[in-house]
């Protein structure tokens, strides 16, 4: 059963006289519980695709369905509420709120969704325990290492039990060992909870841990079931 469907997505950026077609009529489906990697050379439209599918950016044309809800038909508020309830986000640079502690950052999506503070705190602590950071719960992001920050981000992305999690270069700012830990964690959560992960990455090792790779080039999907090898060969070929 597909959780994400999109049809003929076009995204065009216009800056003065310059028009850049970031996405050129993308159509695809992602099944529930899959861990999908999106790979391709720089500027091929990976992050744009993630933004358009998750609803944090508008498409120029085309349609997107998440869990059979047509996202492209929703207004901004409805889209935001949908994101808060059904999606989680992991960014390359963590993007935690520096003024909140780890647990406060994690419980933020729950509070936005209207959970009671006590319940939110309980769930957040449970998630932090899952990612191995319970004892660091009261620390602010500035006092955590890069890996710890990203694990807090993962916990924040999963705290409201989302149906799907978007990760944009989740290991881009981490050393190899920490990156492996974070990926292992994501894989474990994916397998345990059956949540769908869509991971935009440059890193072949990250790609290798995914169920399949969506290979992109120049705003188009080259291969929906590609391999890391094929993507790497493509990148090398194009310099």
């Amino acid at each position: 059963m597909s959780i994400i469907r999109c049809q003929d997505i076009v995204k065009t950026y216009v800056t003065g006289d310059i028009r850049v077609e970031a996405l050129r009529g993308i159509t695809m489906e992602i099944e529930k519980g899959e861990m999908v990697g999106v790979m391709g050379p720089s500027g091929c439209g990976k992050t744009t695709l993630l933004n358009c599918l998750s609803g944090i950016d508008e498409v120029t044309s085309g349609k997107v369905w998440i869990e059979d809800v047509e996202l492209t038909e929703l207004d901004d508020n409805a889209k935001t509420r949908f994101r808060a309830r059904r999606m989680g986000f992991i960014f390359q640079f963590y993007n935690l709120l520096p003024v909140l502690s780890a647990v406060e950052n994690v419980e933020l999506p729950l509070l936005i969704s209207g959970d009671s503070p006590a319940m939110a705190r309980e769930k957040a602590l449970r998630l932090l325990e899952t990612v191995g950071l319970k004892e660091r719960a009261t620390m602010r992001p500035a006092s955590l290492s890069g890996g710890e920050r990203q694990r807090v981000t993962v916990a924040r992305a999963l705290v409201n039990t989302p149906a799907l999690v978007w990760a944009d270069e989740p290991t881009g700012d981490l050393d190899k060992r920490t990156a492996d830990d974070v990926m292992a964690l994501m894989r474990r959560l994916n397998e345990q909870n059956g949540q769908t992960f869509i991971i935009v990455t440059h890193d072949p090792e990250v790609g290798m841990q995914c169920d399949r790779i969506i290979h992109m080039r120049d705003g188009e999907i080259v291969d929906e079931s590609g391999t890391v090898r094929s993507v790497c060969q493509d990148i090398v070929a194009r310099g």
Partner: protein, 1000 residues
């Protein structure tokens, strides 16, 4: 080595700045100093061209930021300039009024008895005039007659009650400044024997025209004259001699011989006018001394200097300087707020350019150059801002003067015509504004220049100062030492402000000294609590230093208490967050908004602290002003009621020698005049007469003799049974109740109750100069005008002081004091009537006696409205500070949004709606402004209470808090803040998450 070089440079610069003061006037020296500072800056810039070019380009890079910086900087200068201009204008006003009102009459000599002057034969006075004219200081001296009269214009039918007829000769007119017509032409002749010269004020009141027949009325005496000229107030035409209670007299000029004949004092005069020559004007003290020694040569006449132009000028300037110093005091709050804003702006500029500055430091720019860069930028901003601010201040002062002139009845005074500013005032304002800017910028750059290069380049936030930081520890010791020095200095000077500043500085230094042992939170909380305890203890009577508080204490108290309060809040912010998130029962999904909205401001402690400080400081002052005005407005009507005894009107004859021949009640009830008899419900009449008191008092140095003139008032039982005149103190050993005291004076003619004004420091409204300082139990001799002597003992003191004199029984008033009859009435009108209107009718009915009235309740309304007006004016002045606070918050919000675009994007991505983003920023600003408003109001109430305890409680003022203006100002400030940040918050809500997450 470079340290020595800097020291030498600073020394040379200081010498250069001092040189002009040795040779030039103040104004020119100030201008020269400004030029020297600019020149030195440019000389320095010549050796640091790149740095100067960078500073110039930074200043010009973002016009909107530059405009904001200049606006913030110019506020301080504008307030200084407005205060100087106000001071110059009020000086000019008093100088103009005194010069115009007294013409060339420098001294007036006479012998006062009660409210009139004793006549002497001209032959007795002639030798004195001769001696005076022989003095090296005196230009001319002339004999003059002066009488209180009522004027009636027979053509217009209008009358004027309170006038002084001044009888003068032709030579006197020539020597004392001449008369001028309306076009400024000098009049050759004095008034003829059948004519009168009217000044414009009297002419307006009478609607008189030249040629009108007028009557001068004094008791039953009437003198018909003709208005020969309506003269301008230039020269002698503006001359006025104030006399008696409650009245502002205008003058009517007549021939001296005519006045003498009419008053039955032919060949006699009661005043000598003296004009000093140039040397006399320059050596006033010596001139006065010589005139007095001449007068002492004729002791039998007992002549005194009764009017001294120089003294009036000095007293006027002194009184007004108290008023202008209030502008400086209240203005200083706005100046401090402006400085805080500049500090905030420059800190933000530093943060905005952090990464660029990191790179310049990385490629080799030393810290000192970075600081120089900002200082150059400060000089550029400061030079422009101080110039604009100075001009703006002049305009601001003009607007305030216009509003003052609209608010108050200054009589004939025209304050807007006196508007002026001096080059010295402008130069001071510019220099002060410029130096304030430079000083503030220099402090701000100290923070900026300490940046860590790597963190700056990567835009990583600065970590908190480590608790073992040596620099802050040393700074703590420095603060402690400065505190001790100040406290010792304060004790030496017996100055509460200085000593408490030292104490507070010492207490606050504990924060820096103890943080390495106790941690930030505990150390700063302790320091703040000790500081607050010192000030609050003082409010509740636990004074560390037993000195009297001056008005300037307000500034010191406000500053230190607010700083302490801020430290308390900022270092216990987690408790505050917990409190707010628990208290604000937001709709479930908005709990997240509340948390982020409060967490952000409390994280940026310095920036938030400064903003709260600005708000708090202004609200603090507004609260104090509102409290004082509330206390005044509440108490003045009560006191006026006590003064009036509960009667609607006090009526009295201007000349106490003139009295009613029949009981006024009978006269009013006898027949309807202008005033209908049924309109009057009660009349209590008192015989009143001028008397002279002679007494002695035992002092530490022996016996002290005193003598003064006052009124004797005869009272009967109705006075205190139908009227309400509470006593401030009485002989409690002899009398149990106030009524017993009153009964005792009815029974015993040697006992008197005196008004509060005769006792030192008992006056309710204003200090009376040369208060006789009588005390309960004093016994003295009273001399009537015919020389009859009687012994009187004071058994009680009244609270009121407007109805002044010795209150005795009717027998004593008539037989011993020789009161001629009733000449004072306390009147109640039928309910619902316009008191002022009825009083005018009463005056018309008693025109022949020159009866004047005071409508007590209307007077209370006038006073409270004047008090209100002056406080409104000060509040308006402070509104500038509030604008600074609001602008400051607007800037912070814009900056915060700019800094947090990425975080806003992330918040939007994880579920914050646009509305939640707007509410987030609105809540942040609301939180800051509310903290400022709450802190300022609380501290304002505490200090307002202290002001009441120190200055008003002793005068029987009841403590009240007028919440309305405090709440209105707080509400307006809050709403204005919300409105000012709304556009920026809406902009934040439109941040595209996809864009910022990708590109920033």
């Amino acid at each position: 080595m470079s340290g020595w070089r800097t020291l030498i440079k600073v020394f040379l610069a200081a010498v250069a700045l001092m040189i002009p003061w040795a040779f030039l006037s103040t104004a020119l020296s100030l201008v020269m100093d400004i030029l020297i500072i600019v020149l030195l800056t440019f000389l320095d810039a010549r050796n640091n061209r790149v740095t100067f070019t960078m500073a110039l380009r930074y200043a010009l890079r973002r016009p909107s930021t530059t405009a904001l910086v200049v606006c913030g900087l110019m506020v301080g200068t504008a307030i200084v300039s407005a205060s100087f201009t106000m001071s110059d204008t009020l000086d000019n006003l008093i100088l103009g009024e005194v010069t115009e009102g007294l013409g060339e009459v420098d001294l007036v000599l006479g012998s006062r008895f009660s409210t009139s002057y004793i006549y002497f034969d001209d032959t007795e006075l002639a030798p004195i005039v001769q001696q005076l004219e022989g003095s090296e200081w005196v230009e001319h001296a002339s004999l003059v007659c002066l009488e209180n009269v009522v004027l009636l214009d027979q053509r217009s039918g209008l009358s004027s009650l309170s006038n002084m007829a001044i009888g003068l000769d032709g030579d006197m007119v020539a020597n004392f400044g001449h008369f001028y017509d309306g076009q400024g032409g000098m009049l050759a002749d004095p008034p003829s024997a059948v004519g009168a010269y009217l000044p414009p004020g009297a002419a307006l009141e009478l609607d008189a025209l030249e040629g009108d027949p007028i009557l001068l009325v004094r008791g039953s005496n009437v003198l018909p004259l003709q208005v020969e000229r309506i003269v301008s107030e230039e020269g002698l035409g503006g001359y006025q001699l104030s006399s008696g209670q409650f009245q502002i007299s205008s003058s009517v000029f007549v021939d001296r011989g005519t006045l003498q004949a009419w008053t039955g004092e032919t060949g006699r005069s009661n005043l000598i006018f003296v004009t000093l020559n140039e040397q006399g004007g320059e050596n006033l003290a010596e001139a006065r001394e010589e005139v007095q020694s001449i007068l002492q040569g004729h002791p039998s006449l007992d002549l005194q200097i009764i009017q001294d132009k120089g003294e009036i000028l000095e007293e006027g300037q002194e009184a007004l300087s108290a008023f202008t110093s209030l502008f400086f005091v209240f203005g200083s709050f706005s100046i401090i707020a402006g400085m805080a804003l500049v500090l905030n702006i420059f800190t933000m500029l530093g943060e905005e350019r952090k990464s660029e500055m990191g790179i310049t430091r990385a490629v080799g720019m030393p810290r000192s150059t970075l600081r120089r860069l900002f200082t150059y930028e400060g000089v550029i901003y400061g030079a422009v801002a101080a110039g604009i601010g100075t001009l703006l201040g002049v305009m601001l002062a003009y607007l305030m003067i216009l509003s003052i002139s609209g608010m108050f009845g200054f009589g004939d005074l025209s304050i807007e015509d006196s508007f002026t500013f001096t080059p010295t005032g402008l130069a001071y304002s510019y220099l002060l504004g410029f130096l304030l800017t430079l000083g503030t910028v220099y402090v701000a750059t100290a923070r900026i220049s300490r940046l860590n290069i790597v963190r700056a380049i990567r835009s990583v936030p600065e970590p908190p100062v480590p608790i073992k930081d040596r620099r802050s520890f040393l700074l703590g010791w420095g603060m402690m030492a400065a505190g001790i020095v100040l406290a010792v200095l304060g004790v030496g000077l017996e100055n509460l402000g200085v000593s408490y500043s030292g104490l507070s500085l010492g207490a606050l230094s504990l924060g820096l000294l103890l943080r390495r042992y106790l941690g930030d939170r505990l150390a700063w909380t302790m320091a703040a609590l000790i500081t607050l305890a010192a000030w609050l203890g003082q409010v509740f009577g636990l004074k560390v230093f037993p000195y009297t508080a001056e008005i300037e204490m307000l500034v010191v108290a406000g500053l230190f208490m607010l700083v302490a309060m801020l430290l308390l809040v900022m270092f216990n912010s987690d408790l505050l967050i917990r409190f707010f998130t628990a208290v604000i029962r937001a709709r479930s999904s908005y709990r997240a908004v509340v948390r982020t909205a409060i967490s952000y401001p409390l994280k940026a402690k310095f920036r938030t602290g400064l903003s709260i400080f600005i708000f708090g400081l202004v609200i603090f002052t507004v609260t104090i002003l509102s409290m004082i005005s509330g206390i005044m407005n509440y108490n003045i009507p009560i006191m006026v009621e006590e003064t009036s005894g509960g009667f609607d009107t006090i009526a009295f004859t201007l000349d106490p020698r003139i009295s009613l021949e029949q009981d006024p009640w009978e006269r009013i009830n006898g027949t309807d005049g202008f005033l209908r008899k049924e309109n009057v419900s009660n009349v209590v009449s008192l015989p009143t007469i001028g008397v002279r008191v002679n007494g002695t008092r035992m002092t530490e140095d022996g016996t002290d003799a005193y003598q003064f003139d006052t009124l004797g008032l005869g009272v009967d039982r109705r006075f205190f049974t139908e009227g309400y005149y509470p006593l401030a103190e009485w002989d409690t050993e002899r009398f149990a109740t106030e009524e017993e005291v009153w009964e005792s004076i009815l029974d015993n003619g040697s006992l008197a109750i005196i008004d509060g004004g005769l006792v030192a420091n008992m006056n309710q409204f204003a200090p009376i100069p040369d208060t006789p300082g009588l005390m309960l139990g004093d016994s003295f001799q009273v001399m009537a005008y015919d020389g009859t002597l009687s012994n009187i003992t004071v058994v009680a003191v009244m609270k009121q002081s407007a109805l002044g004199g010795l209150f005795v029984n009717l027998d004593t008033a008539y037989e011993d004091f020789k009161a001629p009859g009733f000449n004072r009435m306390l009147i109640d009108y039928a309910p619902g009537l316009d008191v002022r209107e009825q009083s005018v009718l009463l005056e018309k009915d008693f025109l022949d006696l020159g009866l004047s009235t005071i409508s007590v309740k209307s007077l209370a309304e006038d006073i409270t409205s004047a008090v209100d007006s002056i406080f409104t004016l000060f509040r308006a002045f402070l509104a500038i500070g509030l604008v600074i606070g609001i602008v400051g918050l607007g800037i912070i919000t814009i900056r915060a949004i700019h800094e947090r675009r990425l975080e806003i994007g992330m918040m939007r991505a994880i579920g914050f709606t646009k509305r939640m983003v707007i509410i987030n920023f609105a809540l942040e600003s609301a939180f800051i402004s509310l903290l400022g408003i709450i802190a300022g109001s609380l501290l304002g109430i505490v200090v307002g209470y202290q002001l009441w305890v120190e200055s008003l409680e002793g005068q029987d003022f009841i403590f009240v808090i007028d919440w309305f203006p405090i709440l209105i100002v707080a509400l307006l400030a809050f709403l204005a803040t919300m409105l000012s940040i709304l556009p920026a918050a809406r902009g934040a809500s439109k941040v595209s998450p996809a864009e910022v997450l990708r590109f920033e």
